[in-house]
């Protein structure tokens, strides 16, 4: 029976774009999160018709289908957890059209996110979402997970820039949502429903994205703090002063020290926290705003502030932030990057709770991230071969989520729920919230073929398990 559908599949897409060898199947069994699950087949789709036909076939035979970009997901989005077909979109990157008069871009799902911004820049435009994996990640994956990035503080996330989609439904029909206009209130907003649905409601085959004028200038500063709560207060104070920076990034002491040990660059290792702030806009405006920001931070008691005078100096300051991930990866081999997010006013409290969790479970926990929008990245460094340690890590993660929800925040700011956070969904949404979502899923995908095992917890699973059984 298995051979039947594989033979039919070959009629739609033939090798080498249809892969069934063991080496190939293993190579699409993982993403950047946890676990490895072997699919029966991998198909590299190159047009909407192929997607539609594959999904119709899958729906007929009730074979699970998992859309996948370049596998950079941190939440398990593309993992083929129940076997079946991986739909690989990475090679479908041919369409990248910029329409400067409409300020839109029309793209195929395999286009790299960073490539969209590069193409827009040629017209003096910008595609703002800037996940740090943007040079690897595809726009299809970004749409599925509703990816964010440092600029989210000022510019929002992926969903804020999507105005139209072409979608293949779980039954293989091709629909169009939204359109090419900024204003559009016709019917339900299916565009926003599909974006961030993590490939469980439909497969995106084309997107129309909104572009904005590229700010002509930017300026960076670094502020050093002797204690964490003050850095948190500083963020609120700046944001209330009428200034909206493009980015406010935070590094805690553990991350400062890790970077300094990894690649000495003269960072203040006694500091409790560093804030990196980028302003963008008209050169004269940001000059004035920078002076004001500097004044606010100094008055609040920042130990030191440095305003970059040149582009090179700015780059040097941002390098420290970029080095956090590689530097902390040296501490222990397994790195779990969380993205629990809290209202901005709760950042100091969240940092305090994170430190308590770190003490309680005796884990290596480092805090950095997009503090300006409340989206911290508590990273846990551990060793997945150490069962005893992993149990403590699982408990700590559960407590991080509980703390975020308790403070009025959310499980995920930008990585998505996937498999990693599914056990905690109900904690945030409540049983009725989950039920309404499940009804939506059932209406769209009656046979549950599209990315099963994601977002919703499997029956009987109420906690995270990171160990191999």
């Amino acid at each position: 029976m298995e051979n039947d559908w594989l033979r039919e599949l070959e009629q739609i897409v033939a090798p080498p774009r249809l892969m069934t060898s063991l080496a190939d199947r293993h190579s699409y069994s993982y993403d950047a999160s946890f676990g490895s699950y072997l699919p029966e087949a991998v198909i590299q789709v190159m047009c909407t018709k192929e997607v539609s036909e594959v999904i119709k076939l899958a729906n007929r035979h009730q074979i699970p289908v998992y859309p996948r970009g370049q596998g950079t997901s941190l939440s398990g989005g593309p993992l083929p957890v129940k076997g079946g077909i991986v739909l690989d979109f990475s090679q479908w990157d041919q369409k990248l059209e910029i329409y400067p008069d409409d300020l839109v871009a029309v793209v195929s799902p395999g286009v790299l996110t960073a490539a969209i911004n590069q193409a827009a820049e040629k017209y003096g435009l910008m595609y703002p979402p800037d996940p740090s994996s943007g040079h690897v990640a595809t726009i299809g994956g970004n749409l599925g997970e509703n990816a964010g990035g440092p600029r989210g503080l000022k510019y929002g996330v992926t969903k804020d820039y999507v105005i139209g989609l072409e979608v293949v439904t779980p039954e293989g029909h091709i629909i169009r949502t939204g359109g090419r206009t900024i204003k559009n209130v016709t019917g339900y907003d299916l565009t926003k429903l599909i974006v961030g649905s993590e490939g469980t409601l439909g497969v995106i085959t084309e997107a129309t994205l909104r572009l904005i004028p590229k700010p002509p200038a930017r300026k960076t500063m670094m502020a050093v703090f002797a204690d964490l709560p003050t850095s948190g207060t500083a963020i609120s104070k700046v944001l209330r002063s009428g200034i909206l920076p493009a980015k406010i990034e935070l590094m805690d002491q553990a991350s400062i020290r890790a970077v300094e040990q990894f690649q000495p660059m003269g960072l203040p290792i006694d500091a409790a926290a560093i804030l990196l702030i980028e302003l963008d806009g008209h050169p004269k405006a940001i000059q004035e705003e920078m002076e004001k920001t500097n004044h606010i931070l100094t008055e609040l008691g920042a130990k030191e502030t440095i305003v970059a005078q040149t582009e090179e100096e700015a780059e040097r300051l941002w390098k420290a932030r970029k080095l956090v991930s590689p530097a902390i990866a040296k501490i222990k081999p397994t790195k779990i990057s969380e993205d629990a997010t809290v209202p901005r006013s709760k950042i100091p409290e969240m940092i305090q709770r994170l430190n308590q969790i770190k003490e309680k479970y005796q884990i290596h926990l480092v805090v950095f991230g997009h503090a300006g929008d409340g989206n911290l990245h508590p990273n846990i460094l551990c060793d997945k071969r150490d069962k005893e340690e992993m149990i403590r890590v699982e408990q700590a993660i559960a407590e991080i989520f509980a703390a975020a929800i308790d403070l009025g925040g959310t499980l995920s700011g930008e990585h998505g729920i996937g498999t990693m956070k599914a056990p905690f969904l109900e904690q945030e949404l409540g049983p009725l919230g989950v039920m309404m979502m499940k009804r939506l899923k059932k209406a769209w995908d009656p046979n549950n073929i599209l990315n099963p095992g994601k977002i919703f917890p499997e029956p009987g699973i109420s906690k995270l398990v990171l160990r191999d059984e």
């Binding site: 892969m19 063991l22 069994s29 993403d31 596998g71 690989d88 690897v136 990866a329 071969r385």
Partner: protein, 433 residues
């Protein structure tokens, strides 16, 4: 876990696979991911397969093709945010494959010729040089036919024979001195590591290298007992053999107390600076290897450091630079060649897109995996043509041959030349400052 699996894990550097967090940042850097278009032929994919294999979850056959098709260019290690030692994992996998896998006939013959007849023996210098010279008139194709290589094609050696330079005669090669004094005041004493291919097929370039060195104020010695660097052996999993060759070279250069050990082949240089790692379990040799590696420099580095040359002859036409992967990604020599190129009067240097990407030469990759290599080369030539360069400069014999082949494939032989950096600098008529 049973004993044999543990031994396998040790050999294949299984522990090092845990450094990979599977972020995928290596994908855009990988030339084979670009041309073969699947994760299986990406660094992340290969590391995963090695790991699954080392855990006993996969048969060794599954590993063969993805590992064979890796260029070993190390571009992934430069962009890796977790500093995964990919080259160690790759070499471990190659060693295990070498020991456990039966070879195809084609592979056996090619490897016997390359590793037993040409590269390892002290006689290689004469033999390759003489044979190639002798057979040049009749063409390398006949040479290949005679050794049985052509019959087990597609080794496509005939393709390469057409782009080989004219060789000096054996007697000319034998006339070379082993000690060449500096021109003018001697500032340092350097040992010249001549390399196999460089000292046979590209003998002329070695002569020009010595000219540049002596003109820059270096006394040059060429230790006679030196041998192949062992890079190709290590890259095909013959670690034991590579270690033997390393010892010979270390001894050969120890005998002459030199300030630096100079080479002009990116691939050889990369191996020489890694000698230390071959002797993890042998403290005495590790120390000796370390001293050797610390003295090792590429010709471009030493010329920049000595800073004694002025170039007097302008070079016409745009020039582009195809970096050697091993020089760039392993030796981390990035700026020195460019600095020298830009010192030439009126030079029109144009960087090509992807100048830091492998050209597909990769040791014997272009011989063993000809078709795959040509796909990578064709991409390279697209970017080369965009620069409208009249000269492509390289710093490694394999890359140089590959560039010559690329030029021929594009039918550009009448307008575009591929030169070793040393040839370009020589052409620019250097004089002492």
């Amino acid at each position: 876990m049973n004993d044999s699996l543990r031994k396998l894990q040790d050999k294949i550097n299984y522990e090092k696979t845990f450094a990979c967090v599977q972020c995928g940042y290596c994908l855009p850097a990988c030339p084979t991911y670009e041309t073969m278009k699947k994760e299986t032929h990406s660094p992340r994919g290969r590391i995963n397969l090695v790991k699954q294999f080392a855990e006993g979850k996969l048969d060794i056959n599954v590993l063969q093709d993805p590992i064979d098709k890796c260029l070993g260019c190390n571009a992934c290690t430069v962009v890796c945010p977790s500093d995964v030692e990919y080259n160690k994992i790759l070499e471990g996998a190659k060693q295990v494959l070498e020991e456990q896998q039966p070879k195809t006939k084609k592979q056996k013959i090619a490897e016997k010729l390359l590793f037993e007849d040409i590269f390892p023996s002290r006689k290689w210098m004469k033999r390759v040089g003489d044979l190639t010279w002798f057979y040049q008139a009749s063409g390398l194709k006949k040479f290949a036919e005679k050794t049985g290589l052509a019959k087990v094609a597609p080794l496509s050696l005939d393709q390469f024979s057409q782009v080989l330079p004219n060789l000096p005669s054996p007697s000319e090669r034998r006339r070379r001195l082993h000690r060449i004094p500096a021109k003018g005041k001697s500032r340092i004493k350097v040992g010249f590591f001549t390399g196999c291919i460089m000292d046979s097929i590209f003998f002329e370039i070695n002569q020009k290298t010595i000219d540049l060195l002596t003109l820059a104020g270096a006394e040059v010695v060429i230790p006679e007992m030196q041998t192949c660097c062992g890079a190709l052996h290590a890259h095909t999993g013959k670690i034991g053999h590579s270690r033997l060759l390393a010892k010979k070279n270390i001894e050969a250069f120890e005998a002459e107390s030199v300030d630096y050990i100079i080479n002009n082949a990116g691939g050889c240089g990369a191996r020489l600076i890694e000698y230390e790692e071959l002797f993890d379990d042998d403290p005495e040799w590790r120390e000796r290897a370390k001293t050797f590696s610390n003295k090792t420099r590429d010709i471009s580095e030493i010329l920049v450091e000595l800073d004694r040359l002025t170039f007097t002859q302008p070079i016409a036409g745009p020039v582009t630079y195809q970096a050697s992967c091993h020089m760039l990604n392993v030796q981390k020599v990035v700026n020195a060649p460019l600095k020298l190129i830009k010192e030439i009067p009126n030079i029109d240097y144009r960087e090509m897109e992807g100048a830091d990407r492998c050209c597909g030469s990769a040791g014997i990759y272009n011989i063993v995996n000809f078709e795959d290599s040509m796909k990578i080369l064709d991409n390279k030539m697209i970017h080369m043509k965009e620069t409208q360069a009249k000269i492509i400069v390289t710093t490694n014999p394999g890359c140089l041959l590959q560039m010559k082949l690329g030029i021929k494939r594009e039918n550009l032989a009448s307008t575009v030349r591929a030169l070793h950096l040393v040839e370009l600098l020589h052409e620019a008529r250097p004089v002492q400052k």
